[in-house]
């Protein structure tokens, strides 16, 4: 049982990073340089996005980023002038959407047959609280990102 759970966690981590890479490549024009269990960056992160999901499987997704990543990602997505950059409000909105996309893409990859409802992304400054479950720390071309997924245990 424990071994199965470990195997599942490894698969989840793979799909989580795969989903993030896909979203970051296609709509944010950036890539993941390194991934690991821990993120080589100052904590807590200044910005965190939370998305909870329910349906065939319930759980929660969290994405945290540093300011460098947040500003760079938001500017890329919106096509903003690199000199002026996005506003703080735009940055939060884009980070919410980024969290939503990574979570949705992850669920579609990991549970291809599933049917889920996702909550609206909640943007929290700074990062708060611990979330158990699968965790990956990512170094991006600009800045750092931290991804976590908690999978609620299924009733036996």
């Amino acid at each position: 049982m424990t071994e199965q759970l470990l195997q599942r966690d490894v698969e989840m981590a793979t799909e989580l990073v795969g989903a993030a890479r896909d979203v970051l490549n296609v709509m944010f024009f950036t890539d993941i340089l390194e991934e690991g269990d821990e993120c080589a960056c100052p904590k807590p992160f200044p910005l965190q996005v939370r998305v909870s999901f329910s349906g065939d499987q319930a759980g929660e997704f969290r994405m945290a980023v540093d300011e460098v990543a947040a500003g760079s990602l938001a500017g890329s997505f919106l096509g903003t002038d690199p000199v002026t950059g996005p506003t703080a409000e735009e940055t939060d909105q884009v980070m919410g959407e980024l969290g939503n996309m990574i979570c949705g893409a992850f669920l579609s990859r990991f549970e291809k047959e599933g049917l889920f409802a996702l909550s609206s992304p909640e943007v929290v400054r700074p990062e708060q609280g611990e979330l158990p479950g699968v965790h990956r720390g990512l170094e991006l071309m600009d800045g750092f990102m931290d991804l976590r997924v908690y999978w609620e245990p299924q009733p036996q």
Partner: protein, 179 residues
Amino acid sequence: MGLIVVGISECRCSADKEASIVTYALGSCIGVGAFDPGSGVAGLLHFLLPDSRQDPARAEAQPASYADTGIPLLIRAMERMGADRRRIRVRLAGGAQILTDNAQLAVGKRNYLAARKLLWQMGVMVEMEAVGGTVSRNLGITVGTGEFWVQMRGTGGNDAGGSHPNETPIRRVPVAGAR
């Protein structure tokens, strides 16, 4: 009929209906082909690296070496010849992984991401692309018709097969996920 050859780190534009513009041996480099059907202006850029901050002196001397200086150079040069940015349609080719050492591996992809980012920022739409894989490509435009073509050398490319030997029309951008 004039053939305008664009070398590495070069950018050329033309509105001569008799001319073709071509660039050869795109490995990890990206060829950015552009055409404005309204004015008949075509342009082609062959850039080498994604980011001019690596070497500002070189970027000053050869702005077409980098995505972030070369793409604005291409679009503005076309605009000076009468093109309208909103009508310009872009095709990308290259961005392959040719060499095997790890440092080189990422260059093709980084070039591709940089090109997409710059074009989105400048408000120019990419129409089609033939990128990635391990092939070397040539990219050309017939100015009079606005037709693009790609030739491949090597294997592992993702370009669609064409009707002429060694010649492939640029594939449509993949519609992965579209249903």
